[in-house]
C-alpha cells in the first residue's frame, strides 16, 4: 500500500512536470514575437526600442530552460502572465470564467452518471434481450453524434419551435439544460457501455451464482450485491470524464454563448492570446490529473481488497 502510494505520487509528479513542459512549449512554438504581441493594442504598433525593452522585462533574452523555470516559478505564485489581447492578468480571467465551465461540467457529469449508470444496469440485467439491443442501438447513435450539430438541433427544436428553453447566456438551471445534455451524450453512452460489461463480468463470479441460488430478490441481487462491485470501473472512467468535460467544453460554450474558459480558449487562438491558451491547457490538464488521482484513491478506500493493478508500473 505504502509502496503503491509512493509510486503514485512519483508518477503524478512526472505527469505534472510533463504537462507544464508541453504547455510551455505551446508558447515557444506559437507564431509571432511575444514581446511585440504583449505591447500591441488596437491601432497601435510599438517601436523597436519598446519591444526590445519588453523582451528583457519578460525574460525572453534568457536561454530557453531559464525561461521555463521562471515560467513555472511564476505559475506556482499564481501568475500566468498578462493576456496579449485584453492586457488583463490571465489568472483573473480564469478565476472569472472557471465557475461557468465548472457548473456546466457538474451538470454534465450528473447527467452522464445518472443516465449512463441506469442504462448500463438495465442493459446488463437484460443481457441480449430486446431492451439490451435497444439500449445498445441508442448508445451507438449518441456516441456518433457531433456535439455541435446536436446542440444546434436542440436550439432549433427547443428554442425556435417549442420556445421552452433559452438559447444562450448563463443564468439558472434552464440555461444549462441544453449545453449540459449536448456535452454529456458521448460520455453518457460510454458510461452505459462500460457499466453494462462490468455488470456482465460480475455475473460470472461465484458470489453471484451463490446469491442467485439462495433465491434472494432481484433487487437485492442486482442493486445490493452486483452494483457495488460492478460500479468501481465506472467510477474510474467517470473521473476521467469529469476532466475531459472540463477540457472539452469549448464547442458547447461557443454555441450557447457561455463565457467559460473553453469559449475564450477558442477566441484566444484567433486573437493570438497565447498566455491564456497555455494557462488553459495547463489548468485543464491539472484538473484532469487531480480528479483522476482522487478517484483512484477513493476506489482504494471503498475497496481496499482491489489488487493495485492496472496502474502505471504494474
Amino acid at each position: 500500500m505504502k509502496e503503491y502510494i509512493i509510486e503514485k505520487v512519483k508518477s503524478i509528479f512526472i505527469v505534472l512536470v510533463g504537462i507544464s513542459l508541453l504547455s510551455f512549449l505551446l508558447g515557444v512554438v506559437s507564431p509571432g514575437d511575444p514581446a511585440e504581441l504583449s505591447l500591441s493594442k488596437y491601432g497601435y504598433s510599438p517601436t523597436p526600442q519598446e519591444i526590445e525593452a519588453r523582451r528583457v522585462e519578460m525574460g525572453l533574452d534568457k536561454p530557453i530552460h531559464i525561461q521555463y523555470i521562471n515560467w513555472v516559478k511564476n505559475i506556482l505564485k499564481g501568475d500566468f502572465g498578462k493576456s496579449f489581447s485584453t492586457k488583463e492578468n490571465v489568472t483573473d480571467m480564469i478565476i472569472r470564467k472557471a465557475p461557468v465551465t465548472f457548473k456546466l461540467a457538474m451538470y454534465s457529469i450528473v447527467i452522464t452518471s445518472v443516465f449512463g449508470i441506469s442504462l448500463g444496469v438495465i442493459a446488463g440485467i437484460n443481457k441480449n434481450k430486446p431492451i439490451d439491443n435497444l439500449i445498445k442501438l441508442i448508445t451507438n447513435i449518441l456516441f456518433s453524434l457531433p456535439t455541435f450539430w446536436l446542440a444546434l438541433l436542440f436550439i432549433l427544436i427547443f428554442s425556435e419551435k417549442l420556445g421552452i428553453l433559452p438559447t444562450s447566456g448563463d443564468g439558472g438551471f434552464k440555461y444549462m439544460i441544453m449545453p449540459a445534455v449536448s456535452l454529456s451524450l458521448i460520455t453518457m453512452s460510454t458510461t452505459a457501455m462500460v457499466m453494462r460489461s462490468s455488470m456482465i463480468q460480475e455475473f460470472g463470479k461465484q458470489y453471484y451464482t451463490f446469491a442467485k441460488a439462495k433465491g434472494i430478490s432481484k433487487y437485492d441481487l442486482y442493486i445490493k450485491n452486483v452494483l457495488p462491485n460492478a460500479i468501481l470501473p465506472v467510477l474510474t472512467i467517470l473521473g476521467n470524464f469529469f476532466g475531459s468535460i472540463l477540457g472539452g467544453s469549448a464547442v458547447v460554450e461557443t454555441i450557447f454563448a457561455l463565457s467559460g474558459i473553453g469559449s475564450y480558449a477558442v477566441e484566444s487562438v484567433f486573437s493570438k492570446d497565447f498566455p491564456y491558451l497555455q494557462a488553459y491547457v495547463l489548468l485543464t490538464g491539472l484538473a484532469f490529473v487531480l480528479v483522476t488521482s482522487l478517484v483512484d484513491i477513493l476506489i482504494i478506500i471503498i475497496n481496499p481488497k482491489i489488487r493495485l493493478k492496472g496502474d502505471i508500473y504494474e
Partner: protein, 270 residues
C-alpha cells in the same frame, strides 16, 4: 443483429467513399459556384437541396463535403497508430527502463484533455491540413500506445514466444512475425474506432474555425457557414450534419462488427 448492421455499415461506407472520390463527376454544380440570383433558395428543381447564403448548391457541397475530413481523419489516425503502436510494442516487449520511460511519456500526453490540447496545438500551429493532422497525431498517439502495450504484455507471456526467445530468435523477427500478427485484430479495431473519433474531433475543430477552412466545401464548415441563417433555414445544417453523423455511425458500427468477427471483448478499446 450486429451482422446485418455491420454489413450495412460497410455498404454505407463504400457509398460514402465512392461519392467522395467521384465527387467531381457526380455533383451537379461546382461546389464553389455562387448563383447570386438564387441565395437560400430552398429545395427547387435546379437545386435539389437548396442553396446556401452565398447561392452555392447544397447538394454539390454535401457531395464534396466528406473529402477533406475523411482524408485527414484516416491519415491522422494511421500516423497516430504507427507511432503509438510502435511505442507500445517497444515498451511492452522490452520492458525495464525503456518501458518506464515510454509509459511516463504516454501518461503525460494522456493527462491533457484531448479537446483542449487539440484546440491549443491546432491554434498555435495555425490553419492548414498538415497542421491539423499534426495536431491530431500529437494529441492522440498515446491512446494507441497504452492499449498496444497491454496487448503485447499478454502475448509475450505465451509459452511459444518464451520458447522462441530461448531458441535464439532475434527480437525483431519475434516482433514482426509473432507479436504484431497476434495483436493485429486489436489494432484494426482500435484503428476503426479511432478514425471515428478523429472525424468527430476534426468536425468540431472545423466548426470552430480551427480545422478545414472555408471556402472548402466541408460538412462542418457548411454548418459553421450557416450559423447566422440556420434558424430560418434549418436545411442548411440538417443535411451536412446528418452526413457527418452517418459516416461516424457506420464506422463505429463497423468497429463493433469487427470486434464480433475477431471475437475480442476487450473493453479497453472504446
Amino acid at each position: 443483429m450486429n451482422k446485418i448492421l455491420g454489413k450495412l455499415s460497410i455498404i454505407v461506407l463504400i457509398i460514402i467513399l465512392l461519392v467522395s472520390i467521384f465527387a467531381n463527376i457526380i455533383s451537379p454544380y461546382d461546389p464553389n459556384f455562387q448563383d447570386k440570383e438564387n441565395r437560400l433558395s430552398g429545395f427547387t428543381q435546379e437545386h435539389k437541396l437548396g442553396t446556401d447564403p452565398l447561392g452555392r448548391d447544397m447538394l454539390s457541397r454535401v457531395i464534396y463535403g466528406g473529402r477533406s475530413s475523411i482524408l485527414i481523419g484516416v491519415l491522422a489516425t494511421l500516423v497516430s497508430m504507427t507511432i503509438g503502436s510502435g511505442m507500445g510494442i517497444i515498451s511492452g516487449y522490452f520492458g525495464g527502463r525503456l518501458d518506464k520511460f515510454i509509459t511516463s511519456i504516454t501518461n503525460i500526453f494522456q493527462a491533457l484533455p484531448q479537446m483542449a490540447f487539440t484546440i491549443a496545438i491546432a491554434g498555435v500551429l495555425g490553419p492548414g491540413i498538415k497542421n491539423l493532422i499534426l495536431a491530431l497525431v500529437i494529441s492522440s498517439w498515446a491512446g494507441f500506445s497504452r492499449i498496444v502495450r497491454a496487448e503485447v504484455l499478454k502475448v509475450k507471456e505465451e509459452p511459444y514466444i518464451e520458447a522462441m526467445v530461448y531458441l535464439g530468435s532475434s527480437d525483431l523477427s519475434i516482433i514482426l512475425f509473432h507479436i504484431i500478427p497476434n495483436i493485429m485484430p486489436n489494432i484494426i479495431i482500435l484503428l476503426t474506432t479511432r478514425i471515428g473519433r478523429s472525424l468527430l474531433s476534426i468536425a468540431a475543430l472545423s466548426f470552430l474555425g480551427l480545422g478545414v477552412q472555408p471556402p472548402n466545401p466541408d460538412w462542418s464548415v457548411m454548418i459553421n457557414d450557416a450559423r447566422l441563417y440556420y434558424r430560418s433555414y434549418p436545411y442548411l445544417i440538417v443535411v451536412p450534419g446528418f452526413s457527418i453523423f452517418i459516416t461516424i455511425l457506420s464506422i463505429n458500427t463497423l468497429g463493433d462488427y469487427l470486434r464480433d468477427i475477431f471475437d475480442i471483448r476487450s473493453e479497453e478499446i472504446i
